[in-house]
Symmetry: C2
């Protein structure tokens, strides 16, 4: 397990005061529209009949799926149909279910390297054998992937194609097309973790499903966590209908029905009436400004990094010989700055010289102050 | 997969009109207190700050666990502590996670036979090898269990100790004590599915945790599905703290935090102010009357069955030679009555002569009318 140091036993908990913790991959409280959600809950639940408390239809109720399809079609600039969608209880939970559907103990799963550091733990709980595939400035290295595939079958390939966690990069269109071709040739599913697609600061990225063309090779996991609130525990599966049926065949969905129908009903209102679209536009602006300020501060400090064009993260290189894992304790205790060490996001690679900075939790001034402290961390390293 | 015939692709969906479907293991809409839930949502969510939309602490927030501990202590007549509890997204989901934690593909799981017919599917999705242990009038046959344990290690034992689905029986205290002793001796966890404990029509049953005495052998899964509403997708784990830690170590909880914090917040109000306790008392009365009426009607029709003392179900014996699976289509199409065939609940046993009746969905008059139709089904069988 690689995730023992961020926030003790509960990794996704708030920051320590006095430390600017760039490790926190959460939106700041000011970005969480609780009043709107409470108002929507009031309206939706008062209107709802008792059937809302009944077991929900496996994929979610039709009107929700229609509203979600409309929201995504507009946001992605790619036609999304209701029969390609199913409600989840958030992506972490969905990854647990998808792991069960696609593989058993000892099977191989190929992941971007680096990757979302808490995804490891889900695959590890399922006893999958996790192998890394390098991620560079164009995303997943598909040549390296092909070499790994030649070594034998895999349960699935896991990747974060858009504004990747932790590197911030997007999979290029050419690589995306090749990835799907490889999936056809080697008969595997690409599990695409896509929570950041709508959080672009400039040009709109392509969702991976736009490359699937009905072949049923992409199972995209979307989420309201990064665009509305992680505590909702609400997300969706987006894939070709036959693959959706496979997802819905999971015993837990056959038994319990829809994975979170009540929260879907709450989110339905703000999604259908345009509130969510406006909120996401606001997030893009705020996050875009933060990313720009962070990037400028890093430039000022002479710290090489990926210039973020969307999402929550950038990836900083402290240079040859640096060890960001070893430096973290001093950084927090003596310099008042935290981050996610690159090695925590590593699968097989040596990423000790890198660190991940998140810019979703702090405001611009705090981010700039954090970089001042970070520059002093960099001075401590031999890199 | 044994669950293909109840309600087509989504097994937990409402009834067909004109058919009295005793197969539906759901509360009737009139028993779902939507207005109270909506009022609680309004109050709780308006009061909540934006942190409610943040990732929640893995086990759930402390005040909820305290309120739940108080509710269960009163309901169970057994002291329950907050540090023995963690929020789940309902029992089906929890069974998927627990399967991952306790076993891998090919491992053995021992289940009551008959058992909840949709639990099979969850274990099957996880590729566990499911073996049945007979259930009689005192619950799980622990001698038969011991013989199965002698054949080799198991991932876990799954049972429904109280008002068992489908038989309606309770595990005797003597057997419960022996079950935990066997768990100690053979080093396994008993996964106890306990959604019906509070729905007793007479004497209060003992929860399985009362037999654990801090040994960490029982992982009890509780749920609001049968006492408030299945659509909430909210339940809890109740077990000794070290086992709770093991549950919380699941990668999906380490990544996503609390499994359903928003709905926990909604249920918190009615639980803390006594509304839920009163609602459950009302359910006991309504269900108790329905069970009595059903039982009397079955007596009148000369159909041997288990006299329900709680829960949702009774188990009817159509006698030697009957095949309730084969009869189901004619029963529905020609006689307008549905049920859950015993064989659907079977693991290894031949249970074709039995059928499960649920009395949670229909009112007393409908139940009596259903039994009239059922008596004609019984006449069709050679039993």
């Amino acid at each position: 397990m690689t995730q023992t140091t961020q926030g003790g036993p509960y990794p996704q908990t708030p920051a320590t005061p006095d430390v600017i913790n760039f490790g926190l991959g959460q939106p700041s409280p000011s970005l969480l529209p609780m009043a709107e959600v409470a108002a929507a809950a009031t309206e939706q639940l008062v209107e709802a009949g008792p059937l809302l408390l009944q077991y929900g239809r496996g994929p979610g109720y039709e009107a929700f799926l229609e509203a979600l399809a409309g929201f995504l079609t507009e946001g992605y600039g790619h036609a999304v149909r209701p029969d390609e969608l199913a409600v989840t209880g958030g992506t972490s939970m969905a990854l647990a279910l998808v792991s069960q559907l696609l593989g058993g103990a000892g099977d191989r799963v190929l992941c971007g390297d680096p990757t979302y550091f808490l995804a490891h733990g889900i695959f590890a709980t399922h006893r999958l054998a996790i192998e890394g595939v390098p991620v560079d400035d164009e995303g997943l290295d598909v040549d390296a992937l092909e070499a790994k595939l030649a070594e034998g079958p895999v349960a699935f390939v896991y990747c974060i194609p858009t504004f990747q966690n932790p590197r911030g990069v997007c999979l290029s269109d050419a690589r995306a097309a090749r990835l799907i071709d490889l999936a056809e040739r080697h008969d595997f599913i690409v599990v695409a973790d896509e929570p950041y697609n709508l959080l672009h600061f400039g040009a709109r990225p392509t969702c991976l499903m736009a490359h699937d063309h009905g072949r049923g090779r992409v199972l995209s996991l979307g989420s309201f966590s990064k665009i509305l609130g992680p505590g909702l525990r609400l997300g969706w599966v987006h894939c070709a209908p036959p693959l959706r049926q496979r997802f819905l065949s999971h015993g837990a969905i056959r038994s319990g029905g829809c994975l979170n129908p009540l929260v879907a009903r709450i989110v339905h209102g703000p999604m259908a009436d345009g509130t969510l679209t406006r909120h996401v536009a606001g997030l893009r602006e705020v996050l875009g400004r933060r990313a720009q300020r962070l990037s400028a501060a890093l430039d000022g400090a002479g710290l090489p990094h990926h210039r973020p064009e969307g999402g929550y993260f950038t990836w900083v290189d402290l240079g040859e010989g640096a060890d960001t894992t070893a430096l973290l304790e001093r950084a927090k205790d003596e310099l008042g700055v935290g981050y996610c060490p690159g090695q925590r996001c590593a699968v097989d690679a040596d990423l000790r010289r890198y660190l991940r900075l998140a810019f979703a939790f702090y405001d611009e001034a705090e981010l700039a102050r954090g970089v001042e402290r970070l520059a002093r961390v960099a001075e401590l390293s031999p890199g």
